[in-house]
Symmetry: C2
Subunit: 404 residues, 2 copies
C-alpha cells in the first residue's frame, strides 16, 4: 500500500490527525502513544505501527505480572476491525459465525449460544511469530516489525472447546477434511488485498481449539479479538484468529497470502539473506511455538553490582512436553549452570526459572538456553533459523550487563 492509499484509508476510518503522522519508523513529535492507538492500553508500550495497531511490551513491564494484564499485553493487528481499537469488549449477541466448507450441514449461528455451552480455561503464552525478529539482524535483517522480546505475554483464555461446538451443532464433517480455516470480521485495507485467514490441522483444532469469550477472567477485549477469538494453545499468536466470523473445513491449507508465503518458514535451513520460493512442500506454517527462554532480570544494558547476581526469566514451548532444564552461562557458553525451574499448572503457560551467578566487574554477557523433555533446545546461534520474513526466532537469549 502506498502512502496516499494509507492516508485515504485512515481518513475513511475517521481517525484523527495525530494518527496520520504516525508510523513505526517515524517517531516525530505528535507520534501517538499506545493508549491513543488502542484505547485503554498502557502508554508505556512501544508503538511499532499506529495504523493497524502493533504494540510491544517492554520487558520491565511484562516481568511484573504472572498473568499479563490486558493494558500491557502486546498487539499485532494485520487488519483493522473499526470498532476493535479498544480494550472494551464487544457483546457476542447478534455476532454471526458461519460454518463452511467440507461439512454436510453448513450453517450460521449467533455467537450468543456460546455463552451457554460448557467452557474451559487455559493459561498460555500468546506470542507473535515475529517476536524476536530483530535478533536475526545478527546475521541479516529480516523484513517486518523489528520486535525484541516483548511480542508475547502469559494470559488465561476461557471459552467453548471447538469440539464441543462441533458436537453441539451436530456438524457432519466430511472424512477428507484435514484443516480448519478461520477468518475474522476484520477486512483488508483494499478490495484487492487478500483477507487475513489461517489454517490449522483439524485434528489438533478438535483437540485444543477454543472459541474464547474471556481473557484473564473478563470479557475478551475487542482489541484482542472479542467477542470471539479462535484460540489454539501452544500455537503462535497469528494462528489465534481474532473476531471469528467464518470457520471452514478444508482438504488442504488455504492458499491465502497470509498462509503462504507469509507466516511460514522453510523446512530446512537456508543461508541468511537468500531468497526462498515458498511451497506447501518445502515450508511449514507458524504453528507450534519453538522452545524458548527470555531473561527478565537483569535486563539488557543494565548495571549490576559485582558478586552473586540473581538471574531470572521464563521459558516455554508448544506445550507438547514440559520444559526439562534451563541452563545459564556467564562465559559465552563455556560453562553452564542449571537454573531452578518452576512448573506451571498449564503445559502452555510460561515456566519460571532463576539462579544466582557470580559476576566480577566489567562488561559481562549472560546467556540462557532452555531444553524440553523431547530434547528440543534453543540453538546457540539463533540465526541458523533465518528466514526472509523473520519468524520463529528462538536463539539462546543473551543480555549484556555492566558489572560495577
Amino acid at each position: 500500500m502506498d502512502k496516499v492509499n494509507r492516508r485515504t484509508t485512515l481518513k475513511l476510518m475517521g481517525m484523527g490527525a495525530a494518527l496520520l503522522m504516525a508510523s513505526g519508523r517515524v517517531r516525530a513529535q505528535g507520534t501517538p502513544t499506545a493508549d491513543q492507538v488502542i484505547q485503554g492500553k498502557d502508554p508505556r508500550l512501544i508503538v511499532h505501527n499506529s495504523r493497524t495497531g502493533v504494540l510491544e511490551t517492554p520487558l520491565e513491564l511484562l516481568r511484573e505480572h504472572e498473568r499479563t494484564p490486558k493494558e500491557i499485553l502486546f498487539i499485532r493487528n494485520n487488519q483493522v476491525l473499526p470498532q476493535g481499537k479498544t480494550l472494551e469488549p464487544i457483546a457476542p449477541d447478534g455476532w454471526i459465525i458461519s460454518i463452511e466448507g467440507m461439512v454436510e450441514n453448513a450453517q450460521a449461528f449467533d455467537a450468543k449460544i456460546l455463552k451457554d455451552l460448557p467452557q474451559v480455561e487455559v493459561e498460555m503464552v500468546l506470542q507473535c511469530s515475529g517476536n524476536g525478529r530483530s535478533f536475526f539482524a545478527r546475521a541479516q535483517r529480516a523484513s517486518g516489525t523489528q520486535w525484541k522480546h516483548g511480542g508475547m505475554g502469559n494470559v488465561v483464555f476461557k471459552g467453548v472447546p471447538f469440539k464441543v461446538l462441533v458436537e453441539h451443532l451436530k456438524l457432519n464433517i466430511y472424512p477428507g477434511a484435514k484443516y480448519v480455516t478461520v477468518n475474522g470480521k476484520d477486512q483488508p485495507p483494499t478490495l484487492q488485498a487478500p483477507d487475513f485467514e489461517h489454517s490449522v490441522p483439524l485434528e489438533e483444532a478438535l483437540e485444543k481449539g477454543i472459541l474464547a469469550l474471556e481473557m484473564n477472567g473478563e470479557p475478551l477485549p475487542a482489541a484482542h479479538g472479542g467477542p470471539v477469538r479462535f484460540v489454539m494453545p501452544g500455537f503462535y499468536g497469528t494462528m489465534n484468529v481474532k473476531w471469528v466470523d467464518r470457520i471452514r473445513f478444508d482438504v488442504a491449507e488455504t492458499f491465502n497470502h497470509n498462509q503462504i508465503p507469509r507466516y511460514r518458514v522453510p523446512n530446512h535451513p537456508i543461508q541468511p539473506g537468500s531468497e526462498f520460493n515458498f511451497t506447501f512442500e518445502n515450508s511449514r506454517p507458524n504453528w507450534h511455538q519453538k522452545v524458548k527462554s527470555v531473561i527478565f532480570a537483569p535486563l539488557d544494558g543494565e548495571e549490576v553490582k559485582a558478586g552473586n547476581v540473581l538471574v531470572r526469566g521464563v521459558a516455554w514451548n508448544d506445550g507438547l512436553v514440559p520444559i526439562e532444564a534451563v541452563l545459564v552461562s556467564t562465559d559465552q557458553g563455556r560453562t553452564w549452570i542449571r537454573a531452578k525451574l518452576t512448573s506451571p499448572q498449564s503445559p502452555y503457560a510460561w515456566f519460571h526459572w532463576e539462579t544466582y551467578v557470580a559476576l566480577s566487574r566489567g562488561e559481562r554477557e549472560i546467556w540462557v538456553q532452555a531444553v524440553d523433555k523431547l530434547g528440543r533446545a534453543q540453538p546457540l546461534d539463533g540465526t541458523v533459523h533465518w528466514n526472509p520474513r523473520g519468524y520463529e526466532w528462538n536463539g539462546v537469549d543473551i543480555v549484556k550487563v555492566k558489572v560495577v
Copy 2:
C-alpha cells in the same frame, strides 16, 4: 517364530550343532564366538544372535579406531544371505539389479556396470536404529536386541550416486513417485514371512543415496551388504539396505511389515509400556539419525584416579547441520562444561569431543549432551522417546565411575 521353527530353519540352513545352542540370551558353553558367526570378525564382539548374525562392538574396541575396521564393525542382519556370512567380498559381475515400479522404462542391469560409473566417497556413522535400546529399560524394557552403545561405527563407503545411476539408465520416473523402496537378495526364513525391504524419500535418495561397492577402501564385505549396498548417509543403518537386487519407485511407502509397524516410532511421545497402533499418519520410519553422543572414556564401571580426568567421546546427528556444542556434567546436570569439539570433513561422520573434569573420590556420574546448530539436543531423560520396539534411543549418555 517359535523355538521349533527356529531350529528347523537352522537345520534347513545346514548350520552346525554349535549354532543351535546359541542365542543372545543363553550364553552356554559352546556358544559361538563372533568369528564363528561371521567369518573374519573379531572374536571379542558381543554375539546377540548367532542365527542371522547380530554382533555388537564393545566400546573399548570401537574407540581405538577413527574409521571402524570391518573386523569389529557391528552386524545386524534381519535375514540371511547364505553366502553373506563372511567378510570376504562378492564380485558384482553377474549380480542383477532390477528397476521397478513408477518408471516408464523398468529394466534390469548387471551390477558390474557400476564399476565404470563415477563414484563418490562418504565418511559416515552407520548406526542400528535399535542402538542403545537397553537404556529404555530405565523406564520400561523395549522388545528386541538389548544393544548398549556398540551398534554403531564410523566408516567410509564408496560407490555410485543413485542419481548418477538414474541418469545413466535414462530412467523416466513418473512425477507421482515420492519414495524409493529397496529390497535385497536375502530371503525371509519362511515363505510366509514378509521379505525385508525399506522405503526412503525419493528426493533425498536422489540427493544422498549411493550404490556402495566399497567400504574403508576395500571391496564391500559380503556380511556388510556386498557386492552392492544402498547407502543413505545420515539415515539409520536399517535404511542402508544390503545385497540390493530390486529398486522400486513408489507413490507411497511400502506396506511391508519392516516399514510398518517395525522400524518406526510414534510422531508424539507415548507412555512407556503402552501399546501403539502404528499408522502411516501417527508414526514415522527410522530415517534421520537423532543427535547423539557417546562417552568413550572413561567407560561405564571403570575406576579412575581422583583429580583432573580426561573425558572424551564422539557425537553425531543426521548431517543436516553440524554439531554445535557438547556439554559435560559431573553433578547430574546441575552444571555443565562445554567440551572441545573437533569437526570432521564429512557432515555425516562422528565429531570428537574431549574435556577435563575435576573428580573427587567416590562413586561419580559423568553425563554428556550434544546439541546441534538447529538446537536439536539429547533429552536428559531419554526414555521420553520410549516406543514399543525401542528404536532411536538418544538420551544424554551417562557413565558411572569409581574415583579412587
